[in-house]
């Protein structure tokens, strides 16, 4: 059954890719959506059966086949469903399904072949993403990991004739590759250290270890894995690809670059929570990177003018939140935020997509405005999303973000908490700046796709366009509902306790249950030793005890603070962007320098270009190719090739043609031979 979950979209991919040109749009759309429906349904069934198992030992494992065997190294293709991955597959297949549906309308203008190609990529993405989350070991996960990267590459560059799109796709892939190299190294080190790549085995072995006090092997492993995560999840220093990735079709941005793929890094850490827990050094790094990314991206988001880019930075920022959660050990909170974020960020993107769709591709906020009336459905759903992300109480974002902040606080990371709050404030500001700029105020020069009602054809197209097509509308509404309700499965304890947390808990602890089977034949068991599992359990229970001590009062207090911050942010946005646009520009003038820096995204792209890309190309071109290769090596070789003939030329001259010279040579030989004996 598990195999079906990724296999169905894969079949969809094969059909669309193989038959692509021969399918009509409805056909290929149907194939794609149908496969996703199937996948989602199977996922639901799987999760249902998982829920039926005993809470402590929920897992379904399916070993598909033996993939690579090389000496001691054995890698199986094994899928495993446990609470964490069950949540993930629901998100992936669910949101994925919605976005497939949305896309059938959004991409309608493409040619038949292109349409099929789009859906084949999208299906392939879903398949790989599902493999990623279902994979029971690092290698299978890596297959998905790289696979989604590939799909991301393909989809960003979907409009390949556009230079920017092709560039962005390439950039995404390459930046991700940097992370992946770290990931692979981490996996290698992990294998050397533990002799297995199975998540459970690793967790079990890691659980038996004492947390590393200093930077040791585990820290290194986790840090390397985290490098992989920063690549995929667009964290500092590898976040640069994500804003550019907005060159892709908007549903793609919603699915891949907001809801699912980019969260893979968070999932990776959640998946290896036990391992990371043993490496507090790394966790500190994770938290720090997360919070800095969150803040940095939020500040950039404040000044961006491209609607999708704002959302992209917002995504980076929210991912930073999730990493903050992971870093402070609040894995459940992080995953919870991942889950809620998927809804509202998908919603926001799709909403933005609807706007762009309506504006015939216009993405510049400065040329929008007043769309509220033209696109009411879009506006309202978008507003829900904005409220959710801003952390307004009652909506999904509030619960998850609050959970993270409160965990941060209760973990004693006051500084991180403050920065988190600040980010939360900024989030509210830039989101509502976006909302106000796009939907409120005056109509700006950007014309709606409406204006040119020249011929009947165009006229119809215009109306058709302005009214959000049904599939898109449906999806927006569903997501809006989700954005409101999704948070309620993870209510904070103060408000009734987190069922989600409890559900996920086993995935973050060393699963040590009877139901799990050893995936790797002959793989070593956790070593029985003095530092056994028992001690660890005690540690965990102590941890839980401390958490329990946090009274509901403090939790409520923190909740209040974050609510205040969120609302404050909204208020500021109202002040600056709705009521007093001039004040906003005044502030902008006042801090022109800062604004420039922010507008240019801290010049990170430029720095990378100057510091890495250009020097590398220069070194490769002038230094290595034309220098070392052509001049040095070939020069030496050719030099030798020229020296010998030159020498030959020289010796040849002795052969003057004069017979007396020849005789002299002969005679010289005689004399030399004799003098050899003389001197000998």
């Amino acid at each position: 059954m598990l195999l079906l979950i990724p296999a169905l979209p894969f079949v969809g991919f094969l059909l669309n890719a193989g038959l692509g040109r021969r399918l009509t749009k409805p056909q290929s759309g149907a194939i794609a959506v149908g496969s996703m429906v199937g996948s989602f349904a199977v996922s639901l069934g799987a999760v249902y059966s998982l829920l039926g198992q005993a809470p402590g030992s929920r897992a379904i494992t399916r070993r598909v086949f033996n993939w690579i065997t090389s000496g001691e190294f054995v890698a199986d293709v094994t899928l495993r469903l446990d609470p964490l991955s069950s949540l993930m597959i629901l998100v992936v297949s669910g949101i994925g399904l919605l976005i497939h549906i949305y896309s059938t309308a959004y991409m309608r203008e493409e040619r038949d072949g292109e349409f099929a190609r789009y859906f084949s990529y999208l299906n392939l993405f879903a398949a790989f993403m599902l493999v990623l989350v279902l994979g029971a070991n690092f290698l299978v996960m890596f297959v998905g990991w790289e696979g989604v990267g590939l799909c991301s590459y393909l989809l960003i560059g979907f409009w390949y004739t556009k230079q920017a799109a092709a560039d962005a796709g390439k950039k995404a892939f390459i930046v991700n590759r940097v992370g992946d190299a770290g990931f692979v190294l981490g996996v290698l080190l992990l294998f050397v250290r533990f002799g297995t790549l199975d998540f459970q085995e690793v967790a079990r072995a890691a659980a038996g270890l004492r947390p590393e006090a200093t930077f040791g092997t585990l820290s290194l492993i986790t840090l390397l894995l985290f490098v992989g995560a920063t690549g995929k999840s667009a964290q500092i220093p590898l976040f640069v690809w994500l804003p550019d990735a907005m060159e892709g079709p908007t549903p793609v941005s919603a699915l891949i670059h907001a809801a699912t793929m980019v969260t893979a890094g968070v999932y990776l850490i959640g998946r290896n929570a036990v391992l990371f827990s043993q490496a507090p050094q790394t966790l500190a790094v994770v938290a720090l990177v997360g919070v800095v990314t969150a803040l940095g991206a939020a500040t950039i988001g404040l000044v961006q003018n491209d609607i999708k880019r704002v959302l992209a930075y917002s995504t980076i920022s929210q991912l930073g939140y999730m990493f903050l959660a992971m870093g402070v050990g609040a894995y459940g909170a992080g995953i919870f935020h991942l889950y809620t974020h998927a809804f509202f960020k998908a919603l926001l993107f799709l909403g933005a997509g609807a706007v762009i769709h309506a504006l015939a591709g216009e993405q510049d906020l400065r040329r929008m405005g007043g769309l509220r009336k033209d696109l009411p459905l879009t506006y309202w759903t978008f507003l829900v999303g904005a409220l959710a992300i801003a952390g307004v109480p009652g909506l999904a974002g509030f619960f998850s973000k609050d959970e993270i902040l409160s965990r941060t606080y209760s973990g004693g990371h006051l500084f991180l908490w403050v920065v988190g709050l600040l980010t939360s404030l900024l989030t509210a500001i830039y989101m509502f700046r976006l909302v106000f700029l796009a939907f409120h105020g005056e109509r700006r020069p950007a014309r709606l796709a409406a204006t040119p009602p020249h011929g009947g054809q165009d006229e119809r197209a215009f109306h058709h366009r302005l009214g959000v097509p049904f599939p898109m509308a449906l999806v927006l509404v569903v997501l809006a509902i989700g954005s409101v309700l999704a948070g309620y499965i993870g209510l904070p304890k103060a408000l009734g306790g987190s069922s989600l947390q409890r559900f996920l808990e086993p995935s973050f602890a060393a699963a040590d249950t009877a139901t799990t089977v050893a995936i790797v034949p002959g793989a070593p068991r956790a070593a029985p030793g003095d530092i056994g599992a028992g001690r660890d359990l005690t540690d965990n229970s102590q941890l839980r005890a401390t958490r329990a001590e946090d009274g509901p009062a403090r939790e409520l207090g923190l909740m209040g603070v974050s609510t205040a911050v969120a609302l404050g942010g909204v208020g500021l946005a109202v002040f600056f962007f709705l009521k007093n646009p001039r004040a906003a520009s005044r502030v902008a003038e006042r801090f022109a320098g800062v604004r420039t820096v922010l507008l240019n995204k801290y010049y990170v792209d430029e720095i990378y270009d100057r510091a890495i890309v250009q020097p590398m190309r220069l070194v490769a071109d002038r230094g290595l190719w034309k220098g070392v290769d052509a001049r040095l090596i070939d020069g030496a070789v050719d030099g030798l090739g020229e020296t010998l003939p030159r020498l030959g030329e020289l010796v040849r001259r002795v052969q003057t043609g004069s017979v007396r010279a020849y005789a002299a040579s002969l005679f010289l030989g005689v004399v030399l031979v004799l003098s050899y004996f003389w001197w000998r």
Binding site: E649, S658, R660, A664
Partner: protein, 189 residues
């Protein structure tokens, strides 16, 4: 002793004069003198038959052949213009170079011939009888003798082939033709 030095001096002096002459006719004649002196030395070495053969074969036959050719070609004087290309190495004329080498060779030979072994006087039992030589020549050296006949045959044929006048019109032959411009100067390729 004096005879040795006499003949020796004459031989050396005549030989030196041979190579000092520009006119080959004089050289040939001087060489005959040198050969005469040598045959004197052969007599001193109890080899009268060789001495006689030396006069008859060398002076009488070979040198006459030389003279004949010199006359035939009618080019007694040596050409004196120097060929700039005929240099061995940088700036050193093969002439001077060769002469120096000859000196070096003589020095080396002198060294070799005076070191390491004692040369006593000649012993008694010299083989000087023509009969003994003849017997040896046609028994022990019979095969070599036959080989020389082949050698002379080859030389004869060869001389005829090479020196024979043309009996047919000349025509250029590709196989042997190397025009100066046909040759690629070294360094061109």
């Amino acid at each position: 002793m004096t005879q040795f030095y006499l003949f020796g001096t004459v031989a050396v002096a005549a030989s030196l004069l041979v190579i000092a002459q520009r006119n080959p006719i004089y050289s040939v004649l001087l060489l005959i003198v040198s050969f005469g002196a040598l045959s004197g030395l052969y007599v001193l070495l109890d080899a009268p038959f060789v001495a006689v053969a030396q006069i008859i074969v060398y002076a009488g036959a070979i040198m006459v052949l030389f003279l004949f050719v010199v006359m035939l070609l009618n080019a007694p004087q040596e050409e004196t213009e120097r060929d700039a290309r005929a240099h061995l190495g940088r700036g050193s004329d093969p002439m001077r170079f060769g002469a120096l080498l000859a000196l070096a060779l003589v020095a080396e030979l002198a060294w070799a011939l005076t070191r390491g072994w004692e040369s006593g006087r000649f012993g008694r039992g010299a083989v000087s009888s023509v009969a003994a030589l003849g017997r040896s020549l046609f028994t022990d050296y019979a095969f070599q003798f036959e080989v020389t006949s082949v050698l002379i045959l080859v030389a004869m044929v060869g001389a005829v082939v090479l020196a024979r006048r043309e009996d047919r019109p000349r025509e250029p032959m590709e196989s042997g033709e190397t025009q100066p411009e046909d040759r690629v100067a070294p360094g061109e390729e």
